[in-house]
Symmetry: C2
Subunit: 293 residues, 2 copies
DNA sequence: TAACAGGCATCGTTTTTATAGATAGCCGGT
DNA sequence: ACCGGCTATCTATAAAAACGATGCCTGTTA
């Protein structure tokens, strides 16, 4: 069995079709057919069921599939490890929550890029759940997400600590009196999967409210805009509000410390090779964690 | 990078020589030279330092080496997983301590072989330490060794429980009086690495004796022969003595329960794929553990 | 029902890649 | 200076992979 065989196999399994896999692999269909056939002969067991509309993976194929992916990931790691001469360079795909990207990262990234101009940083923003998935499937080398992260294949390093505060329009009544009025509450939140959103819903329900309306946004600015426009309230890191331009036009109300404090951690795969670029990046983060905080 | 590339690389690293690796790989030297060269070009970093007496691994090579081995092991696992159609067959290399192989295994193996004639059982005997190494480097699929086994990459399942007893010649005085006589004690033990040997030495020293002479043997029969011939005493599982022909001509003396009882566990790599043959074998063991004990 | 479209298998040709074998160069020991 | 062990390089040959064309099967559509 060969590495390219495994790649062919994975592609066919993913696409559910030999022809589509051939396209994706930049080759011709007959080629893929042949190699899958050879592979099946060598293994002594069919990997795909052929039917008129593509192929489907057999049980044997199902068993092979996770290995194929793991091996591919390991090989990628191996090449990285071998090439790593100690100087930080090459691509470094990093994920971050919207708020972290907006508030904490800019100074860190600026400094890092100045020190290591050959590293091609690529920041992807998204909610915690999505980011974790991407780290797990190797499409991100690491990500800034909200603690706690408990997953056997991940390691988390605390980097920042945020105080979550309620944001509401200046004209908004204070929370207690609003609550007494018993009006329908609108919360403005990040798209599903964001852990701050969970916090807010948890807080709101602990206060005995059922949030009747939800508005979802993908950016801090979008949320703050809505809050300022008196659409509803939100829960955001204090720093995200104070450092934003719109932040000046919203009122901040603290919530109890125990529910407010949340750590932002940097997660990586436990088994992934941390190359020079990654090590340098983590050093920058650690520095930022100490000084900036 | 290709799987056979990794195999070539591993071989050269192991042999410290391209020529020797070529022999080992059943190919010619020029071939290996070329492929290593190509590999280095593709990676962009040299993997070996060439000098007049062979080659040595560079730092980059050192980083690559563990990956090469892990990938090879994974690929082997993957093929096994894919081929595994649920029927137990194929090679099943198993390790066992000498005493386990002699006393506990024969009935288990006989029954297992009757049920699964297509499994090519291959029993290797050796001391616990050696067996664990072989399981760790994938040259054994599993092994029967003495508990406790604490290693993050291994899982252990208790299978048998042995009572260790002192074995001595019929003419031997009882231990207490022998001790008073203050004569030089000879212990007959397995070769280094055996955990029973450790037990014996521990017991003997706990009794205030320093074992002055040691005789090493590789087999139960050899040890019992010596014991019967009044050469010295030994510590063996009770069953190993009673079931042996020579066992009748030695006297058995029990030692305190706390020091006597030892579990025999079956260990496997945590991450290795347990194929049908292995699963069937473990089922047989579990059965033997319940009934036979 | 007949034409059609999408999908896989197969075949012959071409191109690429791996292998074997021979040779040359290098270095240390005798 | 020579020999032995080692690696690099070259060439021819063999093997394998890729390609493109074709055929077959099967649902879909007019």
């Amino acid at each position: 069995m060969d590495l390219s065989d495994l790649a062919f196999f994975s592609a066919v399994a993913r696409c559910g079709s030999i022809s589509k896999a051939a396209q994706q692999l930049n080759t011709v269909q007959s080629n893929v057919t042949m190699r899958i056939k050879l592979m099946e002969e060598r293994l002594g067991t069919p990997l795909f069921n052929r039917h008129s509309r593509g192929v489907s993976v057999t049980n044997a194929g199902q068993r092979l599939l996770p290995y194929a992916e793991q091996i591919a990931a390991l090989v990628a790691d191996a090449t990285r490890a071998a090439c790593d001469d100690g100087t930080a360079r090459g691509p470094l795909p990093i994920g971050a929550m919207e708020t972290t990207a907006a508030v904490r990262l800019p100074p860190v990234l600026a400094k890092f890029h100045a020190q290591h101009p050959d590293v091609e940083l690529d920041i992807t923003t998204g909610p915690t759940a999505t980011l974790l998935e991407k780290v797990l499937d190797h499409s991100l080398s690491g990500a800034f997400v909200a603690a706690p992260v408990a997953h056997p294949e991940l390691v988390a390093t605390p980097v920042f600590r945020e105080e979550l505060v309620l944001a509401m329009a200046k004209s908004w009544p204070d929370i207690a009196s609003y609550r007494q009025a018993n009006r329908t509450l609108t919360v403005v939140v990040f798209r599903s999967g964001c852990s701050y959103r969970q916090r807010l819903e948890q807080y709101v329900s602990s206060q005995g409210w059922l949030p009747v309306r939800r508005l979802e946004f993908g950016t801090v600015e979008g949320i703050l805009g809505c809050v300022a426009a008196n659409v509803g309230i939100s829960l955001l890191p204090r720093a995200a509000i104070t450092r934003s331009a719109i932040g000046k036009s919203v009122r901040i109300e603290a919530i109890p410390q125990r529910e407010a404090m949340v750590d932002t951690v940097f997660v990586q795969r436990r088994d992934a090779y941390a190359g020079a670029a990654m090590r340098a990046f983590m050093a920058s983060c650690a520095e930022a964690a100490e000084t900036g905080n």
